[in-house]
Amino acid sequence: MAQDEEYLEFVAGHRGRMLRTARLLTSGDAHWAEDLVQIALTKLYVHWRKVRQAEGASSYADRILVNAFIDERRRLWRHRETATADILDAAPAPGPDQADRLTVLDALAQLPKRQRAAVVLRYFRDLDTAAVAELMGCSQGTVKSQTARGLEKLRDLINEPLEILERVR
């Protein structure tokens, strides 16, 4: 029972963040994003005993999430359990922000998966190259090159002035 309570408290505290990360990875595909989160949390439960420490559980869950995204092949249809998260997920109100949102999501969709993952983990999750390398199972050099290529392509697609995006890390 203590294990289940710990797991539920972890999920309650991290599910929202994981879902937002998954939304970016999937370029706004809500169902795919929910699938990824469910895959990650299911595997996390199976291996919960090994990853009980908060830092370990969070990194483990993120690693599964990212790898499930990179490895998953598109299926013609996806079976997913009904969850209320998407019902209560307050979508951004229509307006200038909504237009920006769709532009960014469209741009992310143009990036190869590994470039997309590197950009999202570095600049949305604020992880350093070492942490991203561990999550993606590659070297730091690979993370840097994937990030650089992803940023370059985003600049072209979003059509933002170069000096703006130069401000980021």
Partner: protein, 262 residues
Amino acid sequence: MTDLKDLLENAAGADPAVTDNDLMADLRRGKRSVRRRHFAGVAGGATAVALVAAGAWAVLPGADSTGLDSQPAGRTAAAPPSQAVLPPSAQPTKAKRTPPDHSRPPVQAPAPDRPVKLVPDGVVRPGTDLVCGLKPEGWEPVVYKSSNGVAFSSMVFESAELDPAQYDEASTRLSVRHARIWNENGKLLVEKYGQTWESLPHVMAGSRQAVATLSNLPKAIISRDVHMRMGPTQLLQTTGPRALGWDLPTMLRFTASCVFAK
């Protein structure tokens, strides 16, 4: 000027509210996966894991036999509280506590083995227009006043057994307050969720419709919110720390006993 962080934050959308349904569904999937591994003979020791999970499932607080924690708590209509009025001199006082140590990371109060027990109350306390027919046994009611002496339109119960110096106050406290449905550009939106009442999944708190969610307070203290519909734009909101035995059925039963005092 917009930087990439802001663009990604906006693109990621709003932080979704995590409901009991979500949590129970994740737990069920995890347990099914463990059982599948056991039957497939994949992992050594999987049998022990499956047995522990099945036993834990049976006593998980708030979970019924189907594992759904969001079932309506039954339409047992809570009897309107008999409104015994306390004289002004009998104002509730806050139990003496050591001041919380804000220099340490907040610690959530532990979870008991069973839900908190509700006992009759129905007392109208000076300084608040809220009254509840039930109260948690062993918890003390507190009414806070602002510096100008006007009472907040809220009521707080605190666990008398736990010292906030050891635990985060948010995890030792139950609050009852007014909430609103706001008219925003012609849409009636629940202030907490930014969505219409009709678009939110409902449960029953006694005879009234309610919306129940788990919310993540800052610093990862987990609480359970219930918004009960009192009128076209009036809501009564209760917030309870889930870890202290405030499972969903208990929260709904308590919330259903609360009304605005006449």
